[in-house]
């Protein structure tokens, strides 16, 4: 076991763990969207899990830092919060929150992060940007809502883990990046078996399983 100090509190964790995992295991919340603890090489794309470590001159992402004995970590310095809030606002500027109709409003990671960072769900002072993406993409077992997607890439990773190869991946580039689906011309014909790993792990309700399928899954657990 390795001992380290986070926000003046000593915590213990197993060697080899990432700093982010160590904190989460010990009940210290650090905002994150793209982190998967079993993932060998962290994706590090959401840029929310910044922390400051004694001895380093700038904040680092906690998911990419391995724990070391005696590490002294701060999770809520002004610099950390500044970066986290900017990253969050940037995400929200392309994710107009529609709490009334949102199917995952209770479990939405973004809401949890907003509360933690003590910011609203709007992007102020930034403006909303129209992402010019499709309203929804109909797939056999679920529907993809591109404008809710924060491109954390978790679905891409779990699909590969579960099926050995990706049925979905990043498509387009830059600001136009979306999740694209492999297989065939018609998304409905995708050779997907409905394991729903992707929809289950989606933190923002961009991948919503179809109700009949959930029912079926409940009947044959």
């Amino acid at each position: 076991m390795i001992k380290l100090i986070v926000d003046d509190k000593e915590i213990k964790t197993e060697a080899g763990n990432s700093l982010l995992q160590a904190c989460l295991e010990n009940g210290i919340f650090i905002p994150n969207l793209c982190f998967i603890k079993t993932r060998q090489h962290p994706h590090a794309s959401c840029r929310l899990c910044f922390v400051e470590i004694d001895g380093l001159d700038r904040p680092v992402t906690a998911c990419t830092e391995k724990v070391r004995e005696g590490l002294v970590v701060k999770t809520d310095t002004p610099t950390v919060r500044r970066l986290q809030r900017t990253a969050f606002k940037l995400l929200m500027s392309g994710h107009p929150c529609e709490a009334k109709v949102c199917p995952v409003k209770g479990s939405c990671q973004l809401i949890r992060i907003a509360k933690h960072l003590k910011v609203g769900l709007n992007p102020k002072p930034l403006e909303y940007i129209d992402r010019e993406v499709e309203e929804e993409v109909d797939l056999t077992f679920f529907t993809y809502y591109p404008y809710r997607c924060v491109l954390c890439g978790k679905c891409v990773y779990v699909c590969r883990e579960k099926n050995g190869h990706n049925l979905l991946t990043f498509a387009q580039r830059g600001f136009d990046t979306v999740i694209g689906f492999f297989g065939s011309a018609e998304p409905v014909d995708l050779p997907c078996h409905g394991c729903l790993a992707c929809a289950t792990i989606c933190p923002t309700g961009a991948l919503i399983p179809k109700p009949e399928l959930i029912k079926e899954a409940k009947m044959n657990p």
Partner: protein, 650 residues
């Protein structure tokens, strides 16, 4: 295998190279060197070559035509060097030789013995008859180390490279222990020429020290900065020098496989490199047991498919592995865990091309060039508002002023220098107060720009700095891979804000927002692209803030560049009665005749293309550009005219 045998095998290659050289010299016929790299071809070198061939055969003159790589003098393309040994002149360099001029040269010089002075750029050697090119600052102030042989040898002929001392560095390296080679490179102080300036020797030592035997060496030739073409020129003009550097690097770090990652948009470079690999393999300078030693080394070419971000080393590796070119978090650095999980040294084309001469001439010699912390030379492709644009290789530590005003001839059309953008889209814009900054890694970074891989854009007084920032942000924003939040969305916000400022819709708080957002993007982004993308905004805000403020507060573009904020008008005092030149060229029929039979512009119809201004005869010079647009005097259309234009619009 002894050192003696290695030397003997290489000596036989050198002898063959000498023999070929002598054979050529025996028949003393003229040699015509034509620059046929991408830039030469673009300006018509193919037609020039064809014209030479036709004219020579018409007149039954025996001469050799040798296609060579680029000399770097883009302003003078197509460049031709004629060595006419029996004419009594030294080899002469001719500029802008199109097909017609080629025929004239054959007739007058090769047939008649008159060197046609009006097309001469200079003689290649000192002499009493024709001024030598070395008398011009564009030649004499340069110090060519990496590009020493570019434009002087046929890139497709390995023996010509060997004749210039090529592959001797590799032989010398093979005679030494790998550690000794690394020592030499470390002592030379060579720093990565890709932009960041990491010490090359240190990188090699880390790779050498890793316990995994299967290692890779990658040559990064994914040059993507707008207006930069140093790597392309080197690959096209002297690919063997790069291959030699690659082999030395592989020997030093203990790798047997290498990939040269070259943009697919550089077909000529790819071809030249592939050809070079083949001919080096034929002479056992590459491939299994090089020159009989136990060192095996194979090189393959990988063509990148056009993503700017693949110049970032981790994205480049992903791309070779067949994945989407997205940068990965470092550490692990590629040198620990790179291509297919193996230790991988990624070096830039210019870095690797510097290596052979370091090994051959020694680190002490290398350190005599450049500055203490940035030894060697820097290669820039200087473009924009300079008289003599092109590739320039200068010693590190040379000032920006010398480079722009002495080497490249300064700003044309008697305009004022305004700014220089160094380091491509991730670099910064420096104003005239920084002209005395020495060009080296540390000074440029300190000034807020960066060395980058060598793109340099010079701008004159007509450039609007807000517009320039907008241009670069538009580029980086499009080229972001879309992985991390700051770069994907942040650069889009920056672009939107800059866009509205150039359109006169800027808001009071925009500058503050630009600054804080830029800073956060720099600190928060995952890879080098995002970390440097806001640099053009931050530097131009720092050095040209008043220009931003003029756009926002006065809706005025001081450089008269941003279309929404300018207007054209015709000065009735200056306009000549009856002159109709501007009327015909206006694409939207916005110019009408006033009561006094002079011309005026209908501001509502005008699209501000500026055509009228450029065609107005210089003796009248009656068209003016102003900002803000309200400054343009309003001139009413005569009533009957108005009706007519309405009719035609319908």
């Amino acid at each position: 295998m002894s050192k003696l045998e290695l030397r003997e095998r290489f000596a036989s290659i050198q002898r063959e190279s000498e023999r070929r050289n002598e054979e050529k010299n025996k028949e003393s016929i003229p040699t015509i060197f034509i620059v046929m790299s991408t830039c030469g071809l673009a300006s018509g070198a193919t037609e020039t070559k064809q014209a030479f061939e036709e004219a020579l055969s018409e007149k039954s003159i025996k001469a050799r035509i040798v296609p060579v790589g680029c000399l770097g003098h883009c302003y003078a393309e197509p460049l031709v060097i004629i060595d006419h040994p029996t004419a009594g002149f030294p080899p002469i360099c001719y500029y802008q030789i199109n097909a017609d001029r080629a025929r004239i040269l054959v007739r007058s010089y090769l047939e008649g013995g008159d060197p046609v002075l009006k097309y001469v750029l200079g003689a290649m050697e000192e002499n009493d008859l024709i001024p030598a090119v070395m008398d011009f600052p564009r030649f004499s102030l340069e110090q060519r180390l990496v590009m020493e042989h570019c434009g002087h040898i046929d890139p497709n002929d390995i023996y010509q490279y060997v004749a210039k001392g090529g592959y001797s560095g590799l032989v010398k390296a093979l005679e030494a222990e790998p550690e000794e080679v690394i020592d030499l490179v470390e002592k030379s102080g060579l720093r990565g020429r890709g932009g960041a300036g990491f010490p090359t020797g240190r990188k090699w030592r880390i790779a050498r020290a890793t316990e995994i035997d299967d290692k890779f060496v990658i040559c990064n030739g994914d040059e993507g900065d707008p207006g930069a073409y140093m790597d392309r020129t080197i690959l096209e003009s002297n690919p063997h020098q790069l291959l030699e550097g690659l082999a030395i690097c592989a020997y030093a770090v203990g790798a047997n496989r290498s990939i040269a990652y070259v943009r697919a948009e550089y077909p000529l470079a790819v071809k030249a490199l592939q050809k070079a690999i083949k001919s080096a393999e034929e002479l056992s300078l590459l491939g299994p047991s090089i020159l009989g030693t136990s060192f095996n080394f194979e090189v393959s070419v990988f063509q990148g498919s056009g993503a700017f971000v693949c110049g970032e080393e981790t994205a480049l590796i992903q791309s070779i592995e067949g994945k989407r070119g997205m940068p990965q978090h470092r550490p692990p650095f590629p040198v620990e865990k790179g291509l297919w999980g193996r230790p991988t040294v990624v070096n830039n084309v210019k870095t690797l091309s510097s290596v052979p001469s370091i090994i051959l001439r020694g680190p002490e010699w290398f350190r005599t060039i450049g500055t203490e912390h940035s030894p060697g030379t820097a290669i820039f492709s200087v473009v924009g508002n300079v008289k003599h644009p092109g590739l320039v290789e200068i010693a590190m530590g040379t000032s920006l002023r010398t480079l722009i005003f002495d080497v490249c001839g300064g700003i044309p059309k008697k305009k004022e220098f305004k700014a220089v953008q160094i380091g491509g889209p991730s670099g910064g814009c420096l104003p005239s107060s920084f002209l005395d900054t020495p060009i080296d890694f540390d000074s440029l970074t300190q000034a807020g720009a960066m060395m980058g891989s060598g793109g340099m854009v010079v701008m004159d007084e007509d450039s609007c700095m807000v517009d320039v920032s907008r241009y670069f942000l538009d580029f980086t924003q499009k080229e972001s891979c879309g992985k991390c939040t700051f770069c994907r969305i942040g650069t889009n916000h920056l672009l939107n804000i800059l866009d509205r400022i150039t359109k006169g819709e800027g808001r009071e708080k925009d500058l503050e927002l630009l600054e804080t957002l830029s800073k956060d993007i720099k600190d928060g982004s995952l890879c080098g692209l995002g970390k440097t993308a806001p640099n053009p905004v931050l530097t131009s805000l720092k050095y040209f803030r008043e220009e931003y403020e003029a756009h926002i507060n006065e809706k005025r573009c001081p450089a008269l560049k941003c279309r929404t904020l300018i207007a054209y008008y015709i000065d009735l005092e200056k306009c000549a009665r009856g002159c109709e030149v501007c009327v015909g060229c206006c694409p939207v029929d916005a110019i009408f005749t006033t009561k006094g039979r002079k011309k005026a512009i209908d501001q509502e119809l005008c699209v501000k293309c500026g055509e009228c201004r450029s065609v107005c005869p210089p003796e009248y010079d009656a068209v003016f550009k102003v900002s803000p647009p309200e400054l343009a005097p309003i001139i009413e259309r005569p009533p009957e005219e108005k009706k007519e234009s309405k009719k035609s619009a319908v």
